[in-house]
Point group: C2
Chain length 242, copies 2
């Protein structure tokens, strides 16, 4: 399903993460039970499209007929939404096809904040306020949080950040993190997602790219680190503590 680099539209920012490629378009299909996802993908591929994401939902729109049972949201490279829509609507079972903005065009890069509720909330305060200032200047940064307790739960969440589309940076907001969480941080950094940690007990802060004592400051710095509208170079600050 790979397509020559040259055929890609370079007008749109790439908000898929980590790195590489350019998102082009998204379509939403509302279908009956008969619609075959594989058939849809085959036809889109024949037209030169490369699948980036697929999400399926049960159809719940009250105004549509009982025949429509499923929704497919498909994001593609190398194919414009109008062409993709026209191709998809020829597949049996596809009742409604329409162009959509990609989730990256709406929600942009994601700052992920994981840890204890009190501290997650303070990091979010800093990150949301700072992202507001950058979004006003054309950035698209969203702040996503998860309040969790326990080494295993937090380690699993850190590992899962690698699977979150558009996750650009992780902030660990807690008072004691180590062991399996530290291992998970190492794995996450290895795939290229930087980690900011509060100044806390445990081994995790030694593995983080940046350690920040004030949670509001930690959220602010995390946003600055990924904003194209900010002058803040994580590479120059790696290993520092504030």
């Amino acid at each position: 399903m790979s397509v020559p680099e040259s055929s890609r539209d370079s007008d749109l920012p790439d908000l898929a993460i980590p790195g590489g490629g350019r998102l082009l378009s998204a379509i939403e299909l509302r279908t009956t039970d008969d619609a075959d996802l594989v058939e849809i993908l085959l036809r889109l591929r024949e037209a030169g499209g490369e699948i980036v994401t697929i999400n399926t939902f049960p159809a719940t729109k009250k105004s549509e007929g009982p025949d429509v049972t499923r929704v497919f949201d498909i994001e593609l490279r190398d194919l414009d939404a109008l062409t993709a829509k026209r191709i998809a609507e020829t597949v049996p079972g596809v009742q409604v096809a329409g162009a959509r903005p990609t989730l990256g065009q709406i929600f942009g890069k994601r700052v992920i904040v994981v840890g204890g509720g009190a501290q997650v909330a303070q990091v979010a305060l800093g990150a949301v306020s700072e992202s507001d200032r950058h979004n006003l200047r054309g950035e698209r940064i969203s702040v996503d949080t998860m309040a969790l307790v326990g080494e295993e739960n937090i380690a699993a969440a850190v590992r899962a950040v690698a699977d979150l589309p558009r996750a650009h940076i992780l902030v660990l907001a807690g008072s004691l993190m180590g062991g399996e969480i530290t291992k998970a941080v190492r794995e996450l950094r290895e795939i290229g997602i930087p980690v900011v940690a509060l100044n806390m007990a445990g081994s995790v802060s030694a593995e983080a790219d940046l350690v920040v004592s004030d949670p509001v400051q930690a959220g602010t710095m995390a946003v600055m680190a990924i904003a194209d509208t900010a002058r803040f170079d994580l590479d120059k600050l790696r290993g520092r503590r504030y």
Copy 2:
């Protein structure tokens, strides 16, 4: 790709949204350029699996060879991860296949908060703190935010909430919202995602399921409304203002 209801594993909670179905398993595949996503999907389907989500990433793990260029994260119904992994790793180009938890098992239901930075941050404060209390009792609720300005931007974000996997409720945090945003709220509610609004100027609050003056309270109530661990019935409170 539909499979009889009876064959589905009912042990796992359904965290796909809105409504219906049960997520079973997730696998991650690390592949060369030669791996064909459609071939992978065909083989998983032959074994009885139904695709729920697919996310693709460029491979960025520093320790793996240059041959591995792409990562496919696939969530499936009706097929356990071990079987899916074994099937996928027989496809040419798949170098590494492994079982993963689904994103729903880690991040659970999502509260989405959209609006102006100052108010989004206060709603997040309430929602994160309240979600912490429910997550300690076995819930999985995450709080995701987006600070935005402008009728068009906010309306587009409200519409896109319908496409966000596991989005369970939206909180609109602002001081003036109407026009296209109000239309978008109507559309979102039609597919079954409830909307909480701050007590604000504009027509949006008349369309919301619940209007709350204090942003921290709005965040708290939004979490209570979707937590299985809370006694809070949005149906009983619909149209009220607090």
